[in-house]
Symmetry: C2
Subunit: 280 residues, 2 copies
DNA sequence: AGCTATTTGTTCGTATGTATA
DNA sequence: TTATACATACGAACAAATAGC
């Protein structure tokens, strides 16, 4: 059934509701009329209204709360993730203290489950590098790497980010043998990784890139995100040796509605209100 | 009806289908079985299958084609939008030639409609600055600005981006009077904007930031995007005068599955395969 | 605490329209 | 033209979460 020149009814209703939202007919945080009311208002059925609402939820304009209602989604302030600049730090080092910048560590069930408890936040796990990580680091799949991760939560806003790092194992440990007979002799402690790499391969360089994709699986809960309508902001940093060889791959996953990435200008001018929350 | 410990059936099916997709059980581009077949396979109804599929479409993993089928969404190569670096150009200048970098101009109906034809691609329109643009430029709403825009399409990949620029009008024109009696005397041509600003306010500086949000309205068609499941990548550049006053705000809208933004490292090493497609 | 009304969530059946091969 | 596939729409029933009394 198509009323207006072949446009689906749920789409017409979605367009009308969107206009109301973007033109501040409804204020952010305000509840929309109930689905039953809207169904009678637009002379249609509840499934059709729900389809229209689902569209706007996917566009990030509305949120729906079971048993409570449908609300205009407030746009939170975005915190900055600064890229570039001169000093870089090992964000996954056991000695790195995120509390300095207003963050606290949080533990997330799904990560512990995924790694079967073999690695805890800020500890290091020797494992093979697979998939796109191998591509980025320019090595073939199966190469030995060191994996570290952490979840941080911003103390004030409770916004969460996920950090992880893959670095080539033979740069910080002595590996002998192959396959089952492989032995790893790690003389260097995680807190010394960066200093060691600087000595052996410095001066180090970094390349940072940003992209975005839709989250799925347990990412929603792990990052405290709205279940739909929020893209994921991915900040990736590649550490290069003096001669351009990749050494470490660091990735930050952040809710796209609460963070933005900024390229540091020459004279680092951190927002006067302390907006900057993380430097990569 | 909840089969498995309170989880909705469509959610269980979505999880199963997702596993099949991410574990390459289905190859990218390959068609999934029809909705009717899946409904009988999972012993459920077609609406439930459709809900599960809709979830995965929203996650960017599937696309659905009316009358053809449901397909695993291939992930296209991403082109780079380079941020930072030394030379900056006026991307909206009439003399700027995007063809040098493999782009071609395209016209988009909705933009012409939105501005009621008062401004054509690469021409300049004097108009008041409203909303978030005023905030970013640090002026109050209603201040006179110069608006320019263009849509580019990458010749090889047909990926599209939208560029627009707002700059403070009184920096490139003489404005006398207020309200209805306002008169604008623009001695400076659009192609000379940057040179003029460099003379009067240089040396100029730029700050670039990246964020992401879900697109809505006509953005999908204008940017040749998948209708859902693709976030928008927004690259924003603020031009500052020598003394830190904002002069111009440039924004690039790009499909998030086809572009990523990268902070230029010290020694600009454009990808050896010509991956770099735009510098801001 | 319990109860009730309200609101959204899930699932089904069914019918018809429309795009594609 | 025909068959197949997805799109839209309605009605109905019950489940589950929430808020207020």
């Amino acid at each position: 059934m198509t009323d207006d020149k072949g446009t689906a009814r749920w789409r017409i209703i979605a367009d009308l509701l969107r206009s109301d939202v973007v033109q501040d007919h409804y204020q952010p945080g305000q509840a929309l009329p109930g689905e039953a009311f809207l169904a009678s208002e637009y002379a249609t059925s509840r499934p059709t209204i729900r389809k229209a609402i689902a569209q706007l939820v996917g566009e990030g304009l509305l949120t729906v709360a079971h048993g409570r209602g449908t609300f205009v989604r407030p746009t939170p302030d975005r915190r900055l993730i600064l890229m570039g600049g001169s000093e870089r730090e090992d964000l996954l080092s056991p000695t790195y203290d995120p509390a300095k910048q207003g963050w606290e560590h949080v533990t997330v069930a799904s990560e512990a489950e995924r790694t079967a408890g073999r690695v805890t936040p800020n500890s290091a796990l020797f494992m093979t590098i697979e998939g796109s990580k191998a591509d980025v680091l320019g090595v073939r799949r199966g190469r030995m790497g060191v994996y570290r991760y952490a979840y941080w939560q911003h103390t004030k806003t409770r916004a969460r980010i996920h950090l992880c790092s893959y670095l080539l194992a033979d740069q910080v440990a002595t590996i002998t043998g192959e396959g089952r007979g492989m032995e790893i002799d790690s003389e260097i402690e995680p807190e010394d990784y960066y200093a060691h790499l600087e000595r052996t391969h410095g001066p180090l360089r970094w390349i940072t890139s940003v992209h975005t994709q839709m989250p799925y699986g347990e990412t929603y809960e792990d990052l405290n995100m709205e279940p739909i309508g929020t893209p994921l902001l991915l900040v990736r940093r590649l550490m290069l040796s003096k001669d351009g060889r990749p050494l470490e791959f660091t990735e930050i996953e952040a809710p796209g509605d609460r963070f933005e990435a900024a390229a540091a200008s020459e004279h680092d001018q951190a927002g006067s209100d302390g907006q900057v929350s993380l430097r990569v």
